[in-house]
Structure formats: structure tokens, C-alpha cells
Amino acid sequence: MAEHVILFAGPMGSGKTTAIETLSDIEVVATEAANTERDIVDKPTTTVALDYGEIVLGDEEKVRLYGIPGQRRFDFMWSILRERAEGMILLVNNDAPDAIATMIEYLDEFGELYERGGVVIGITRTDISRTPAVADYSRALAKARPGLVVPVLGIDPRSAEHMRMALMALIINIEMRETWSTREAETV
């Protein structure tokens, strides 16, 4: 069976579990535990190992959706899943303190995926905090990692339309990058 692994990363409270629930064909397997950092994000539980959902494409193909924990003390899970991942949707909540720096920090952790064009950045909670603007993230990205343009989208993780769009943007960007880098290599 063909499998594709897509990660959902981002800080606690950015909407990873909700995003997977929105996209998944199956009931999401969630590993939630009491949130011990309610001073940072005021929600009762948070993901400690991973969340898991699936999109089923016929009998022979699956897209596996893994949400990785937002708290850094669980970041051993990041390295396990990073190896298998084809792409990542990085969610950053716009109301987080220094959200743009948080985005750059995550991209440093997942630099290899980023270089393959395998990253979409979804800015969440823009209804709660209108700034920074989505374009501000793109500009910061262009400065921090010039030469590669990845999709940066304002996203509501509860919206099926938004999540489908983010997933499609991720996959088409990976496919285009693979296609053109192969052709560039052939040309040189």
C-alpha cells in the first residue's frame, strides 16, 4: 500500500488536533493529557505523543496525518516522524507572543523538509489577533530563508475548505519542486 506521511506541527494551541480532525476520514486517535502550561495556553489538555488521522485514497493508498506535540519537552517525537514525512503543515497562532520568531524556530527544526518545498505555513487565530498580517510572515521568511517560496496561508483549522486548500497547496508545491529540480539537474 502506498503511504504518504504529512506532519502537523506548531506551538501548543495553534490548532493541530482540530486541523487533523477536519481532514481525517477516520476518527482521530488523540493522545491528550492535562496541560501543565496553562499560563502559556489556557486549554485543559494538550497532545503529548501524537494525534493520528487518515485520508483514504482507494484500497491502495493512504495519506497519514500526524500531529506532533507542541511542547518542546516532547520533541523526541519530532525526530522520529520527521524521517518519514513527505511534507508538513506548520500552524502558528497569530496571537502567540512573537509568532513570527516561533515560525522561524520551527522551520530551523524542519529545515530539510523546508528545502524540499515540503512545508505550508498556516497562520491561525487571525480572528483573535489581526496582526501580524499573513504577508508579514512571508516577508520574514524571505529574509530568513531567501531563495525558496513556500505557501503561507491564513487558516481556520475548523474549516474543511481551508484545510483542503492547505493540503493541496502543500502537495502541489512538493510535486512542482520535484519536477523542476529534476529538470534543472538534467539541463545542467
Partner: protein
């Protein structure tokens, strides 16, 4: 035509600015190759005149207000300092071909208060829609024939009405420089569809252009219909 219509900003004059913009328009027209002589003799109308005004203002290092009034749809006010606009009409009701669009400009300063309550609406949404509806199926006046284009940032597609083909073309331009002809061929769409997209992205300022000789020497068209995961997901999701 720029400068026509009533002065909405308390009668402050903007004659020299108007002259500057007309000069820019004229220069843009003259820069374009002679194959467009026929077009040059026509006055831009509708959204085309508005797009030219917006593009000209974006080149000016002076803060500026712009008011557009498509006939019958109420005024659109743009504050470029805040990348925002205000319009009583929803973009869902955007008129494809208004009989006229009055255009008025007004210089401001960095410190002058906004002319509508912020944050307003994201200007990208208006520029995207306007760009797709300007110049009919032709090249925007400021674009040069044969140029290659490369994306500098993805537009926020969740806030823009778009098609899957437009998303594919944006992904292509994010990964390689392509001319409009190459883009149309690679995406397997009509030339006019690719041209309208490039016009819109250019108006939004999210693509760079380079003359053909400076573009990377990849003999473009390859992809066309995707048979990969993208196409299977597209089918699954009914997009």
C-alpha cells in the same frame, strides 16, 4: 482616466501628482513593444484604468489615498500605507465590466490619520480580483513581452477566490521562472488564463520579472496534467 471625477478629499489639489501619474502611464505605454500600437490608441477603461492607476501609485515613493468608483457600485477607498481598502460592496458582487471606473488620487503623509476605520479589508483581495478583470485577455501595460516571472511570495489563497489551475500555476512560478506562454503550456490552460493570473500577481507585487536572457535556462514546459498525489487528492476531495 486618472484625475477625472469630483474631488472627494476636501478640495485639496493634486495637479502635479496627476501629471506625474499621466507621465508614468505614457512612459509605460511607450515602453511596450510596437506590436501594441493599436492598443495604445485606445483609452484604457473600466478596471484597466483602475489597475494602471494602482500600479502607478505603487511606484511612487509618496503615501497616497486612492478612490475608485465603478459605476453603480459605490466608492472604493484605498489606503496604501495600511495595505487596506474599504468598499460597501462585497467582492462577491464585483462587477466584471463596469461601464466606467472613476479614479481619484490624493497624496497624504505617513502620519495623517487613516481615512476609514482600520484594519479595513486586505488590499490583496481587491488587487487580485481587479488584476484578473483588467486588460481583458491581454498583457498588463507594464509587463514586457517575453519576460519570465517568478513568485516572491504566495498570495494568501484562503482569502482569495481561485481555481485549482490558478493554484497549480502559482506553485509553478514558485519553483521556476516561466514566461506566460510557458506557464500556459505547462499548466495546460489557455494563454489568456495564464496571462490574467500573471497580470493579477504583478498588480499585487508578488512576482518578479526578468528578461528572457536572464531567466534560468530550463527549457520549460513539463508538468501539464498531474497524475501524482495532487490529482488523486483533487478527485477524492471533489475539487
Amino acid at each position: 482616466m486618472i484625475g477625472e471625477g469630483v474631488d472627494l478629499y476636501g478640495g485639496r489639489r493634486r495637479g502635479s501628482l496627476r501629471g506625474w501619474i499621466v507621465e508614468q502611464q505614457t512612459a509605460l505605454h511607450n515602453d511596450i513593444s510596437t506590436e501594441r500600437d493599436a492598443v495604445e490608441n485606445e483609452q484604457p477603461v473600466g478596471w484597466t484604468s483602475a489597475a494602471i492607476a494602482v500600479h502607478s501609485i505603487l511606484q511612487i515613493p509618496i503615501p497616497m489615498f486612492l478612490r475608485l468608483e465603478p459605476a453603480g457600485f459605490g466608492p472604493i477607498t484605498i489606503d496604501f500605507r495600511h495595505h487596506a481598502f474599504e468598499w460597501g460592496t462585497s467582492l462577491r458582487d464585483f462587477p466584471d465590466e463596469p461601464a466606467t471606473v472613476l479614479v481619484e488620487t490624493e497624496p497624504t503623509t505617513a502620519t495623517e490619520p487613516p481615512i476609514f476605520a482600520l484594519p479595513g479589508q486586505d488590499l490583496d483581495r481587491l488587487l487580485w480580483t481587479m488584476g484578473l478583470h483588467s486588460f481583458q485577455d491581454d498583457r498588463a501595460f507594464w509587463l514586457r513581452p517575453g519576460d519570465h516571472y517568478r513568485l516572491t511570495r504566495w498570495p494568501d489563497l484562503t482569502s482569495l477566490d481561485h481555481t485549482i489551475d490558478q493554484m497549480r500555476m502559482i506553485a509553478m512560478l514558485g519553483n521556476i521562472s516561466l514566461s506566460v506562454d510557458q506557464l500556459a503550456e505547462a499548466a495546460d490552460v489557455e494563454l489568456a488564463v495564464a496571462q490574467r493570473l500573471v497580470n493579477a500577481l504583478s498588480l499585487m507585487g508578488v512576482i518578479d520579472s526578468a528578461i528572457e536572457a536572464q531567466a534560468r535556462p530550463v527549457d520549460a514546459p513539463a508538468p501539464a496534467p498531474s497524475r501524482g498525489l495532487f490529482s488523486r487528492l483533487r478527485a477524492k476531495l471533489g475539487l
